[in-house]
């Protein structure tokens, strides 16, 4: 049973059938808010009222869908009037309060027990744009909007199947945010659905305004630096993940869908991989995996090399490095910290500021500081190259969350590299790999298909194998139906 943090329902001792008392009840329930509008009407000489919240109900819809039919069909029985506004069902007074909050119009007539509600909610969403942080070259450029119904509509349009299931939850006891859980019956592992349902029902907060707020409350180990929930603003990415047997969560008022459970390698899969040719897609996937390692290790390796093991690099390079390092007053670790900190500052400032100023900051920060810091002799030019390479390669990772995680993880690795050299780097890698192996996303192994090892799954992890070879859905999800495709190139046998 859901525990209530506060009292949502009120009860009055009164006669519910009288129109006036009903109106009073609704007014009281809404706390006499001033955007509650009441429109007196009469139908067959009965007095009645249309009640709605003017801020979220569309008055035009009310006029056309409720008021006009009432006037036009005065001869009809109230039940038989063909209202053009959708979703006219009878509700009791308690439900009427909730209906009002969703932008519905309530019609109550004197002498009638039934209360009618009509869906007249204002369409508050914007027109869809291509998501800025998940751009693709080929394929769909559609992104989610801030309206739940529209967003689910995009998914429905992509998967025209009766197996697509949508379940609604109310989260946040003040905000009453609608959250939808979307999955495909017959593919998804039912125990995952049950688990997620339980977690969602157990959430008791006063508000949820975004999936990110929800994420912390439902994920397995919120303190881990690695994201184990995939955010996406793209319906096509959501659809692909749903077809793998994962579950998507969407909330009203947010243009993100969160996908879970996900594995570590889901963050490297970009939509473009599947839209481009096999070899090219594979190369770019590999590039992303390499850039992940580069981001994680490059600053640490450089520090370890020039502080401990400089004999491993060729003499010709060493002389160049020594020349650039010789007059720097700081040890390499401090040097790297200064530079990495500067880059993080530039990045953060670029995001927070409006776009035109953000670009200026990029130029001022990147070029001017970078150049000045070298000529001032605070940071060696090789270090600038290293940190800049790291920053650039971190941005190639297909997920914003993971790319931030990795850049933050470089700091402890730098500390260990500066204290213990290569030994420190190996230790930190051991720690990270161990942590990745231990992580679970909704109870499924996060580091699959590497651990537990799965040959079939590896086909879509580091490289992108041809689509006709990706015959099975990931094993770690324990889906009901693993087989994804049957001889898709059957035509080859028919030809010749």
């Amino acid at each position: 049973m859901k525990k209530h943090l506060f009292k949502n329902e009120q009860s009055f001792d009164m006669d519910e059938s009288s129109l006036e008392s009903r109106i009073n009840f609704l007014k009281e329930s809404m706390g006499n808010t001033e955007d509650l509008f009441m429109l007196p009407i009469s139908f067959r000489d009965r007095k009645g009222t249309i009640i709605y919240l003017s801020t979220i109900a569309d008055s035009e819809k009310i006029q056309e869908g409720v008021l006009f039919p009432l006037i036009k069909y005065q001869d009809f029985n109230l039940h038989d009037i063909p209202f053009t506004a959708e979703n006219n069902n009878r509700v009791d007074l308690q439900e009427a309060v909730n209906a009002l909050l969703q932008g519905k119009a309530i019609v109550s007539m004197e002498g009638w027990d039934d209360i009618f509600s009509f869906n007249t909610a204002k369409d508050l969403s914007r027109s869809p744009n291509e998501p800025d942080n998940e751009k693709t070259v080929r394929g769909s450029h559609l992104g989610y909007v801030e309206n739940l119904t529209t967003n689910i509509g995009y998914i429905r349009r992509g998967i025209s199947s009766r197996h697509l299931q949508i379940r609604y939850f109310q989260t946040g006891q003040y905000t009453n945010t609608q959250t939808a859980m979307v999955y495909i019956e017959g593919i998804v592992n039912p125990s995952l659905v049950e688990k997620l349902t339980n977690r969602l029902q157990a959430v008791t907060t006063d508000m949820t305004f975004s999936p990110g707020y929800l994420e912390e409350l439902i994920e397995d180990s919120p303190l881990s630096p690695f994201p184990h929930i995939l955010y996406t603003e793209r319906p096509d990415r959501t659809i692909a993940q749903l077809m793998e047997g994962r579950i998507a969560l969407l909330t009203e008022g947010s243009s993100d869908a969160i996908i879970l459970p996900v594995s570590f390698f889901s963050f490297f899969q970009a939509t473009d991989d599947y839209n481009s040719r096999i070899i090219i897609g594979s190369v770019f996937r590999l590039l992303r995996v390499v850039s992940f390692l580069l981001t994680l290790l490059l600053p640490g390796l450089y520090i370890a090399i020039i502080a401990f093991h400089f004999e491993i690099i060729p003499t010709d390079i060493l002389v160049v490095v020594k020349n650039s390092v010789d007059n720097i007053p700081y040890p390499p670790f401090i040097e790297a910290m200064i530079m990495a900190f500067t880059i993080e500052l530039i990045r953060e400032a670029g995001i927070r500021l409006p776009t035109p100023i953000g670009q200026t900051i990029g130029i001022v920060g990147g070029l001017i500081i970078g150049d000045a810091i070298i000529s001032a002799g605070l940071v060696s030019n090789i270090m600038v190259i290293v940190i800049a390479m790291t920053a650039i390669s971190s941005f190639t990772i297909a997920s914003y969350e993971l790319s931030n995680t990795v850049r933050i993880l470089t700091f402890p690795i730098m500390v260990l590299a500066a204290s213990f050299g290569f030994v420190g780097i190996i230790f930190s890698l051991m720690f990270i790999v161990g942590h990745l192996c231990k992580l679970e996303s909704l109870g499924t192994p996060y580091f699959s298909p590497v651990a537990p090892f799965d040959v079939q799954g590896m086909k879509d992890a580091i490289l992108r194998f041809p689509i006709w070879l990706l015959k099975f859905r990931p094993r770690d999800l324990l889906v009901k139906n693993r087989r994804r495709l049957y001889r898709p190139r059957r035509w080859e046998e028919n030809e010749e």
Binding site: F310, T315, V319, K322, V325, I374, S375, N381, S419
Partner: protein
């Protein structure tokens, strides 16, 4: 949860107190020695000369690419490492020879023995095992002091010098690592590049190779002999060119010579045992082409045959001369004793253990095949 946090704090605090065993070695606090030369003075002390790059220009030249200049330091001590320790006293930063590219030895010290000089490199985990090894006629201090403009760093100059010598085919390819077993075991001996310094021209010149008996230098091969040794040994890396005298009656002296380029070789060492004495047959098949023939008119097969014969005669003589020299120096560069040890072990134990190379008859047997006489005919 609390446990994890506790562990995390403990494991992050403990390393701070462990800094006593911190072996940080900052690159900017090391003097990277690129070239070391060892020599011996009349008192039997080891003289070490070393060159290290120093950054040219001031602090503010960050935007320009800074270039380096070599600085030279000479010290002496009782042993090789001792002399380096003395050098450390004279230098602003710590000395680091782990990136030395070339190690030069003076003729004097090479005659006393090489191993004792580089022993300290083998014992050091960061020792420069990849450094090339060469012998210098005369003083090494002069060699290290060379103001050569072909390379900014003098170590690099010698490195390239030896590399090209190997490519041209008159140097063996030994570094500190690979020469070690040859210095220590008695069954095969190394031959190392031999240089001479021309201080007036600021150049190093190749004079051939130094022959070693175990770890002591015992003789020298000139360039032609060195080339012949490389061919007989089969350690040829690229095409080797040889100047061969085929005639001596032309007034125009150029016409007496032919230059051949060896394209491929098939060396084979065979041991024959007769009356408990061993004869080694060094058979060598050479495929060559003519790259210069000033006399010209190489048209008929008969002429070619004649020329081939002359070349063969000449080369066989050169091979014989090389082998004789090596026997005199007791330098078993071919590893013949090793072969005996492997194939005729009992005989080796009885008779040929640590034997002088003179006691083994070595016969070179050359076969030549002309594959190409150039594109002009």
């Amino acid at each position: 949860m609390r446990k994890t946090i506790k562990r995390l704090i403990v494991s992050s605090v403990i390393p701070i107190f462990l800094t006593g065993c911190w072996d940080q070695r900052l690159l900017k606090e090391q003097k990277l020695i690129s070239l070391v030369g060892y020599d011996m003075n009349s008192n039997g002390e080891v003289i070490a000369s070393m060159a290290y790059p120093v950054r040219k220009g001031g602090v503010t030249t960050g935007t320009q690419s800074a270039s380096s200049q070599s600085t030279i330091l000479t010290t002496h001590g009782k042993t090789a490492l001792d002399s380096l320790m003395h050098a450390d006293l004279k230098i602003s930063e710590r000395i680091d020879i782990s990136k030395a590219q070339v190690i030069l030895f003076g003729e004097k010290i090479a005659k006393v023995g090489l191993y004792q000089v580089i022993d300290h490199i083998y014992r050091n985990p960061k020792g420069a095992l990849g450094a090339k090894v060469a012998i210098v006629e005369g003083s090494t201090a002069e060699a290290v002091n060379l103001k050569q403009e072909e390379a900014e760093i003098i170590g690099r100059y010698y490195d390239e010098f030896l590399k090209s010598g190997r490519a041209t085919g008159f140097y063996t390819n030994y570094n500190v690592q690979s020469v070690c077993p040859l210095l220590l075991k008695h069954t095969k001996d190394p031959l190392l590049p031999l240089l001479q310094i021309q201080p007036t021209q600021n150049r190093a010149v190749t004079v051939g190779m130094a022959m070693f008996n175990n770890e002591k230098m015992t003789g020298k091969l000139n360039i032609d002999e060195s080339k012949m040794f490389i061919l007989l040994d089969g350690s040829k890396k690229q095409k080797v060119s040889l100047l061969v005298r085929t005639n001596n009656h032309y007034k125009n002296r150029q016409k007496n010579y032919v230059v051949i380029e060896v394209l491929g070789t098939k060396p084979k060492t065979k041991l024959h045992v007769k009356n408990k004495s061993i004869t080694a047959d060094l058979s060598l098949k050479l495929y060559y082409r003519i790259t210069e023939y000033p006399k010209n008119h190489l048209t008929t097969p008969m002429l070619l045959d004649e020329l081939n014969k002359a070349i063969k005669e000449n080369l066989t003589q050169l091979a014989q001369q090389t082998i004789t020299k090596m026997q005199e120096a007791n330098c078993d560069g071919f590893g013949i004793e090793e072969q005996i040890k492997v194939h005729h072990h009992k005989l080796w134990e009885k008779q040929y253990k640590n034997t002088a190379l003179k006691n083994i008859t070595i016969k070179p047997r050359l076969q030549l095949e002309l594959t190409n006489s150039g594109i002009i005919d």
